[in-house]
Symmetry: C5
C-alpha cells in the first residue's frame, strides 16, 4: 500500500530531527518468561547497590551478585537493592531463582515497553512504571523504565541506566533522625514512588511552558516551523499519556490489593500518592486540550492573516484596475476621439480618477476593510 | 526540543497580559507532610479570628495562637477559628499538634494547588476547595484555597489571604434569632460551603456575560483582538473547570462518608448543597460549549467576509480586465489597423464595452454575487 | 479581562434580538429555605384553583388561601390544588406550614432556575420540572417552571403564570366515564406529567422543522443571516437540553423511590412515561447533531462557492492578462519595431490572440474548471 | 425566531426531494392506552393470516377476526397469527380483549414511532422493532414497524403493511423435515427476529456501497450535488441509528428477563442473535465514521483544488503583470525617452522580458508550484 | 437515493486500487447452524495435520478425516488437530458430529466475518479471532479467521488457508526440553493465542511506520496522492479496529469463564496475554489519533502554502498594478498633457516609481509578508 520510503524522505526526517523509534524487538514465538532485554544497551556494566538500614545505622556498598546472595544484611533491617542495567539477563535470572520471583515478572522487568502495572503475588509485590525527567523546558524528556519488587524487608529496584530521581530519598535516608529510618521497606517503596510521581509534575510544568511558548510564537510569527513544533509537542504529550495514564490504576490498586505487603501506617501515604497521581493525569489532560487549543489558534491566526492579505489585494485591484482601464481607453489610437482634443480633457480625466479613488476609499471604510 | 525563549516573546507576553503562572514549588524528594507553603506570600501577618456562640451569646476576638490553646471557649459552644495566612507554617504545626491533625492534612492545607477533596478521619473531617470571586463581568477572577477542619464543636477555616465570601454568614451569626445560632458546628460548615458555592454561580454568570459580549464583538468587529480574548476566555474556563469539577465528588462524599461528623438535621441541607454543585458543574459545561460555539462563529464570520471580499475582487477584475485588453488592442501602434480609421470606431468600441459591462452585471446577479 | 460593554454592542444586541437573560438572583449568604421568588413577576394576583372529584361528582372553584385551609373537600375525594403565581411567598409559607412541606421544598418551588428533580419525603412526593410550549415552528419557546406535591389524596401544582398544557386533562376530568375519575391523585399526577412530556414532543418537532428550514435556507441563500439563525438555534437547543436532560433521571426515579406514594395500578403508566422521556432525550440529541450538521453544510457550501468564484477570477485573469501584455508590447513607442510595419501584422496578432484563447478554454475544460 | 417558510423554499425542497416527514400525531392529552394509529394508512383492508403447525401437518388460512376467536387451532399446535394493517383499531381492541393484552401494549403496537423495546408481562412477551428493507444500493430504505406478542403456543405479529422479510421462514415452515417444525412458538419468534436482523446486514451493506460510491464521486467530481448526497446519506444513517441502537438492548434483554417464555433449547439461538445484533450496531458505527470521513475527504479535495487554482492565478499574474508594466512604460508618450530611439531597444526589452519569464519559471519550480 | 454507479466510477476505482470487498453472503432466512462458508475458496484441498506429543515423543502426520476418527493418538497425550481450508463443510460436519460440537459453533467457524469471541460450553471451549500478518511496512495486511476448540487433551485449530503465525510454536514443540512439551493442551492454546497477538504488535508497528512516512510525505510534497493514502490508511486502521477491539473481551473472558478448561498453572500466562492485548488496543488507538493528526497536519500545511501563494500574488499585484496605472496615464493621447513635454519628465516618473516600489517593500517587510 505504501511505496518504498525513498532516501529523500529519510534525509528530510533527519533534518527535522525525527528519530526513528527503536523497534521493540517483540519476541515472536518465544516462550513466555523469555528474558530478552528489549531496550538499547545503555551502559556497559550492571551495578548492584545495596543500602541497608535501621534507625541505628546505615550501610551502603556496591556488590556483585554473588556477594548479594550471602550478604549478612539480607535477613536483618530494611534492605534496598538497586540494580542498574538490564541487558545482562543472567543476573536477573539468578535474582529470580534466589528470591523466588516468577519468570513472567522477570520478563516484564526487561521488556522496556511494558505497560505500567502493579501485580500482587503471594509473597511479593511487583510494580513497574516509567521514570521521566525533564529538568528544564528546553531539555528533552528522558524516559526510563523502573521496576520495584517488595519482598518483606527487601526492596529491589531495577533501572535501565544510571541516573534517577531518588537523590532526595537517599539524602533523607542518610539522616538517622528522619522518619524514613524508623519505618520499613514498604515506606521506602512509597518514598521512591512519590519521588517518581513528583517528577511527573516537573515534566508537565515544563511541557506546559513549551506549549505557552509555542502559543506566543504562533501569535508573533506563525509558519511551518511553529506548526511542526506544535505537532511534535502534541505527539510528545501522546507519548507521555501512554506512560501516565496507567499510573492511576497502578497506584489505585495498591490500597485495594496490597493488604499484606503494605502496613497500615503507610496506607495514608499511599492514599496521598494516589491523589497526586490523579492530579498528574488531570494536568496532562489539560495540557492536551491546551495543545489542541494552540493548534486551533494557529489556524485561526493564519486565516485572519489570509483575510487581511486578501483585503489588501482587493483594495489595490479594485482601485487601480478601473483607473487603468480609463487610461487604456485614452491611450487608444482611433482617429476620431473628440475628448483627446479638449483643452482640459487630461485634467478632467485626472480629476475624475481622483474622485473615484476617494469614493472607493469611503466605500472600503464603510465595509470596514480599512 | 524547544528553542530558548527569546526576549521578544517575553515582551510580547507582557503586552498581551499573559502572566506567568506561579510555578508550584513541587517539593521534590521532601518527606510527606512537609509543611511548605506553595502559594505567594499574600500578607504579612497571620491573623486568627475566633468566633464562639450559642443561642444566647456570641463572642468574637482576634487572638494569637498561644491564647487559642488555653481559650475557655474551646470546650463550650460552637467555635469558629478562622486562620488567614498560611505562610507561617509554625502556627499550623502548633495547631496540628494541639488539635491532633494529621501531618498530611496540614500539608494539603498549605499546598495551594491541592485538588479539592474531602477526607474523613476518625475524629475530624477535612475539606479543601477553591473560593473564587468575580464580583462583575469586568473584574478578573480571584481564586484562593480555603480548607475546613470540623472537629466536634470546633470548625477551623484556613484561608490564604484576607477577604472571603462569608460576610453574609457572619451577619446571620450576629442575629440571635437566626437558626444558625441554634445549630452546631456542622451547620456552620454547611453555611460556609453554601456561601462558597453560591459564589461560583456569580462567577459563572459573569463568565457567561463575557462570552456573550465576545460573541457580539465577534459579529461586529471580528479580528485578532476578539480571537485572543476568546482563547483567553476558553483557558479561563479550563482553569475554572479544574477547581469546579472535583467539587461534585467532594460534596457528594459528605452524605456518604461523614456519618459521624454531620448530624441528621443538617443532612438535608447537604443534599441541597449537592444539587447546587451539580448545577454549577452543568452550567460550566454549557459555558464551555458556548465558548467553543463563539470560536466557531468567529471563524465562520471570517469565512463569510473573505467570501464577500473575493466576490468584489472577482467582479471588478472580471469586468475591467477584458475591457482593458480591448483598450490595449486599440492602443497598439500597427501601421495597418483599419478600425482605427472608422469615423465612429471609437464610439462603437465604447458602446461594445458598455454592453459587455451590462451583460456581466446581469450574469453576476444571476449567480447571486450581487 | 473584558473591556466594558460599550453602548454600540448593546444596540447591536437589541437589533439581533438578543434578550439579556434575567440574572437569577442568587441568594448569596441567605439561610437555606429562604423563600425568594427568582423569576419575573409575571402576573398580579396569585390564583388558587381547587378541583375535587370522585367517580360521582366533580367540584371546581377558585378559592383564597384562607378558604383552602378549611375546605371540606380536602379530606374526601381526590383534590387538585392548582396555584398559579409564585411571587407572593406568604401564601407559599402558609401552604408549607399547613400541609407540612419542608422549607427547602418551598425554596425549590420559588427558585425558577431549579434543576428538574424528584424528591421523596416521608409523607409527600415533590417533583419539579420545566413546562415548555411552542405551538408552531414560528412561535418562540415558552418555558415555565411547574412543581408538583403529592400528599395522599391531594395534588398541588405550582405554576409561575397563567396558561398551561393541562387543558386535555381537565377535559378528561370533566367526563365521569373516563378512567381518570375512577383513580386516585397519583394517577392525576401521572396524567399531568404525561401532558407536560407530550408537549416536549411538539416543541421538538417544531425545533426540527426550524432546523430543516434553516438547512434549505443555507442551501439557497447562505449568508450571515442564516449563520446567526443557526447559532441562535443551536443555543436554543442547548437551553432545551438543560431542561430536558434531567427529566430522564426524574421520571426514572419514580419507579425506584416512590413506593409509598404511587399505587401499583399506576406504575405501568409511569414506566410508559419513562419510555416517552427517553425518546424525548434521544430526539433532542438527534436535533443537536442535525444542527451541527447544518452548520457544517453551511460552511461547506460557502467553501464551494468561494471555489467557484476563484475559478471565474482565475479563468478571466489567465486568459486576458497575457493578451493585455501582448497588446502592451505592440503599444510601445520604440522607433524600431519591425512587426508594426508588416501589412497584416495587426491581423496576425489578433489571430494569435484568438488561438491562445481557444487553447486556454480547452485547457480549462480539461482541468474541469469549466 | 424563524421567518415564515416562504413558498420558494418549499419549491426548493421539492426539487431536492426533501420529503416532509410525517408529523407523528402525538396524542396530546389523550388518556394512556388510546389506540390511535400514528402512521399513514398504507392499505385498505386488514388481513389476518393464521398458520398453525406441528411436526405432522401445517395449516394456513386467511381469517376474519370473528373466525379467529373460535378457531380450533388456537389450543393445539404452534399458531402464528400474522396481522397486517394497523389502522383499524377495532380489531386490535378485540384481540386485546380476547387474548388479555394490556392497553399500553396495544398503544405501542399502533404508535409507529415507538422506540424498539422488549417487555415481559406475566403471561406474555411483547417485542416491537423496525423491519427495514433495502434490496439494492439504488433502492430507498423501506421501514415498517413490526410487533411480536408471544403467548404460550401462539405468536402474533403486527405489521403496518403488506410485504415482509419472513419469506424464507415460511419456506422452512413448509418443509416438515425442518427443525422449525419440531419446535415451539418461541423458536418461531427467534426465526422471525433473526430474519429481521439478517436484513439489517443487507441494508447496511447497501448503505456501505452508497458511501463508497459517494467517495468515488467526491474524488472525481466534487460539487454541491455530491455534498448534498453526502448530507442526505449522513441523515439516513442517523435515522437508521435510531432504529438499530435500541436493538442491542431489546435482544440483550431476552436472555435476562424472558425466563418463562423462552425454552432452554432456544436460548443458545437467542445468544447467537444477540451477537449478530452487536455486529449490526458496530457495522453501523463504522459506516457513520466512514460517512464523516468522506465529508472530510470532500472538503480536503476542495481545498486542494482551490490551492491549485490559486497557484495558476498567481503564476500567470506574477509573470505577466510586471511585463505588462514594462510594456506600459515604453508606451508612455514622453518627449524625452532615450531608450525608444536605440536601434535595438525593442529587442533588448523583448530579451529582458524573456529572461525574466525564464527566471520566474525557475523560481516557481523551486517553490514546487509547477 | 443514489444514482446508478456509472462505469467511469468503476474505472476510477480500479485505478485507485479500490477493491470491492467481498459481499459477505448473509444467509438470509437460512436456519441457524447452516454451514455455509462465507469466505473465498482460498485453496483446493482441505488439509488436516495432526501433531500429538507428550514430554517423551512427538508425532506429526497429515491425515484424512476418516483416519482422524480412529486415530490411536486421540486418547493419549496432547493432540493438536490443525484443519486448513473451510469450504468443505462436510468435513466440518463430521468433526462436529464425532467430537460433539454445537451446530452454532460450526456455523461461527465457517462464517469468516464472525466477530472475535470466546464461548464456553459444558465440555469444550470455543474461541475465534482474526490472525493478521504484515511482515514489512510495504506489504499489505493479510487477514485470516482462525478458530480454536479446546476439548480436554485435544486442541482443534481451523484456518481459512495455508500459512500462519505458528512457526515458532512448532519449533518449540519440536524440542523435547521445552516447557511446552511438559504441559497440556490448554498451554498449547495459550501459546498459539500468544503467537497471534504478538503478530498484532508487528502489524501495528508497520502501520505506525506507514503513518510516519505519510507524515513526512505530507510535509515534503502535499497533494492528492498523500491525501488518498492517508484516507486509505485511516480506513485500514478502522478495519483493524474491528478485528482488534473485541480481542480485549475475548482474552478477558478466559480467566473469568474458563474455570474448567484452563488449569491453574496456565492462568498466569493468560493474564500476561490479557495485558498484551490491552497494549495492542492502546497502541491501535494511538495510531488512530496519529492518523487523524497527520490529516490535520496535511490540511494545515496546505493552508500555509495557500497563504504563501496569496502573499506572493498580493505583493506582485500591489507593487505593479499602481505602477502600470501610472504608465497607462502617460500613455494617453490627450493633446494637452504638460508633463510629457518636461525635459526630465520620463525620469521623474521612473524615479517616482522606484521610490514607490521601495516604499511598498518596506511596508511588506513591516507587515511580515516578506
Ligand atoms: Mg513516534
Ligand atoms: Mg511470546
Ligand atoms: Mg508480561
Ligand atoms: Mg536510571
Ligand atoms: Mg508527593
Ligand atoms: Mg514511549
Ligand atoms: Mg496557563
Ligand atoms: Mg514528596
Ligand atoms: Mg496531600
Ligand atoms: Mg481569604
Ligand atoms: Mg445554596
Ligand atoms: Mg488555577
Ligand atoms: Mg474548524
Ligand atoms: Mg444564554
Ligand atoms: Mg444560600
Ligand atoms: Mg434547593
Ligand atoms: Mg402556567
Ligand atoms: Mg405519553
Ligand atoms: Mg429552536
Ligand atoms: Mg398522552
Ligand atoms: Mg407506550
Ligand atoms: Mg409488512
Ligand atoms: Mg442470524
Ligand atoms: Mg424516520
Ligand atoms: Mg476542517
Ligand atoms: Mg470498505
Ligand atoms: Mg439466519
Ligand atoms: Mg453465530
Ligand atoms: Mg492459515
Ligand atoms: Mg506475548
Ligand atoms: Mg475486514
Amino acid at each position: 500500500m505504501c511505496a518504498k520510503k525513498n532516501s529523500s524522505i529519510k534525509q528530510f526526517q533527519k533534518l527535522l530531527g525525527i528519530k526513528k523509534k527503536k523497534k521493540p524487538a517483540h519476541k515472536i514465538g518465544l516462550p513466555p518468561g523469555s528474558l530478552i532485554y528489549t531496550g538499547d544497551k545503555k551502559q556497559e556494566i550492571v551495578t548492584i547497590t545495596l543500602i541497608s538500614y535501621d534507625n541505628q545505622s546505615l550501610h551502603e556498598e556496591k556488590v556483585a551478585f554473588e556477594q548479594l546472595e550471602q550478604h549478612p544484611m539480607l535477613l536483618r533491617n530494611v534492605v534496598w537493592v538497586d540494580i542498574v542495567g538490564l541487558h545482562d539477563v543472567k543476573i536477573l535470572e539468578n535474582v529470580g531463582k534466589f528470591f523466588g520471583i516468577h519468570k513472567l515478572t522477570l520478563e516484564d522487568i526487561v521488556s522496556t515497553d511494558q505497560r505500567p502495572k502493579l501485580e500482587v503475588f503471594e509473597d511479593y509485590l511487583f510494580a513497574t512504571l516509567k521514570m521521566i525527567q525533564c529538568p528544564s523546558p528546553e531539555s528533552p524528556i528522558d524516559e526510563e523504565q523502573v521496576s520495584f519488587i517488595l519482598k518483606k524487608n527487601i526492596l529491589f529496584t531495577f533501572q535501565e541506566k544510571k541516573g534517577d530521581v531518588f537523590q532526595f530519598v537517599r539524602e533523607r535516608l542518610a539522616d538517622p533522625k528522619r522518619p524514613i529510618r524508623q519505618r520499613g521497606a514498604d515506606y521506602l517503596l512509597y518514598a521512591l514512588l512519590d519521588a517518581v510521581i513528583d517528577n511527573y509534575f516537573i515534566v508537565l510544568e515544563n511541557v506546559g511552558e513549551r506549549i505557552e511558548d509555542l502559543e506566543s510564537q504562533a501569535m508573533i510569527n506563525p509558519g511551518n516551523e511553529v506548526l511542526n513544533s506544535l505537532y511534535a509537542q502534541r505527539r510528545e504529550i501522546m507519548d507521555l499519556r501512554r506512560s501516565i495514564y496507567p499510573l492511576r490504576e497502578v497506584v489505585g490498586s495498591f490500597t485495594k490489593y496490597a493488604e499484606h505487603q503494605i502496613s497500615d501506617e503507610v496506607k495514608p501515604f499511599i492514599r496521598d500518592l494516589y491523589e497526586n497521581t490523579i492530579q498528574v493525569v488531570e494536568t496532562m489532560e489539560i495540557f492536551r486540550d491546551m495543545a489542541s487549543g494552540v493548534l486551533d489558534l494557529y489556524m485561526n491566526i493564519i486565516s485572519n492573516r489570509m483575510n487581511n492579505v486578501m483585503k489588501v489585494l482587493t483594495i489595490i485591484s479594485t482601485i487601480f484596475i478601473p483607473l487603468s482601464f480609463v487610461a487604456g481607453v485614452y491611450g487608444m489610437n482611433f482617429d476620431n476621439m473628440p475628448e483627446l482634443h479638449l483643452k482640459y480633457g487630461y485634467f478632467y480625466v485626472l480629476g475624475g480618477m481622483g474622485i473615484s479613488v476617494v469614493g472607493m476609499l469611503i466605500f472600503f471604510r464603510f465595509k470596514k476593510w480599512l
